[in-house]
Symmetry: C2
Subunit: 197 residues, 2 copies
């Protein structure tokens, strides 16, 4: 609040004439971030192709504003932009063939996975907090290969696919591949669910 006041050349208390709480401001910022997601209708694409694009667009928006990312999910239906996004996702899933409870389940699976996965990803961002690195590196170095054989065997492959393991090797957007894999697996699962109906 004080920093925001400074940036506006105004006393901290002055902000409370325009907004009633910090939470309200974060909500407003969140709506702005939501509005930054491209939800354009491209009906020539497959439904999983569209959802894939949407997932990546959501992730990009969250990466652009890592600080509001944690409240992203809470705010998704409280603004026109969020409702537009939700409507688009729901439409795509309905046209794909989902209906009834499964439609809502699919919606929740998609949004929950995208928002949640990226939230976890950003919560360990080096720009947010550097201190976990040393702790993790120490933990990995002290890891006994005879006691944790599967982890030890997986380590060499954790270079470009780092998440819970070895982020130290990838600096900028290190988790692009990991996210792409996750979304693609999720969409495969949804497709399988659609076939068995």
């Amino acid at each position: 609040m004080r920093a925001l006041g400074d940036a506006l050349g105004v006393a901290p208390g002055a902000i409370y004439w325009h907004f009633s709480s910090k939470e309200e401001i974060v909500g407003a910022v969140s709506a702005l971030v939501l509005s930054d997601i491209d939800v354009t209708d491209t009906r020539d694409r497959s439904w999983h192709g569209e959802l894939n694009d949407l997932a990546h667009a959501m992730r990009r928006a969250m990466h652009r504003h890592p600080n509001v990312a944690p409240v992203f999910g809470t705010q998704i239906l409280t603004s026109i932009y969020g409702a537009t996004l939700a409507e688009r996702i729901m439409t795509i899933l309905a046209e794909a063939g989902f209906s009834g409870d499964d439609l809502v389940h699919a919606y929740n699976a998609f949004t929950g996975t995208v928002l949640g996965w990226v939230t976890v990803e950003l919560s360990r961002s080096p720009t947010v907090d550097m201190s976990w690195r040393d702790g993790l590196r120490a933990a990995l170095d002290g890891l006994d290969a005879s006691e944790y054989p599967a982890l030890a065997a997986a380590m060499p492959h954790a270079r470009n696919a780092a998440f819970m393991l070895r982020w130290d090797l990838a600096e900028i957007n290190p988790l692009d591949d990991a996210f792409s894999f996750t979304i693609s697996v999720l969409l495969d699962g949804l497709r399988a669910r659609l076939r068995q109906r």
Copy 2:
């Protein structure tokens, strides 16, 4: 810190003789929560059956301690308990047939989805924050069916499957079904990925 000091019958500053920061305490608590997850080896089960049990066990642990849930992912490899869990997941996936980069990808997809989904779920828990409810209800009530037809059509089915929609109708553990669906879809996706190798 002051509340913790009170609970221990001690001055706030006294805590800093035992821990160097609040963050360290949260990390220690996180390790305790991790230790509460059952990682027992049951080789008679299928790999997806085991991962499904593990996912639900992780979720239960997070629900038991909603306040440390957000740092859960960051702490997973910094304690023996976390490393044991990671080792177990990695072993199951390796035995299922994953190897190389895909093994790490699958690990990241699983842990990221479970931790992330539940983090989002808990971030909107009524016990944590009541205020979003009114805002959401107002947003839903003001939602024009002609402008958001897909959302409006899905609403009736959002009773027992509430997530981004209408939590107001389900109070205790309202998202059990939604989580089960998500994990089942994720595991279906991993199975499909395994077949096409």
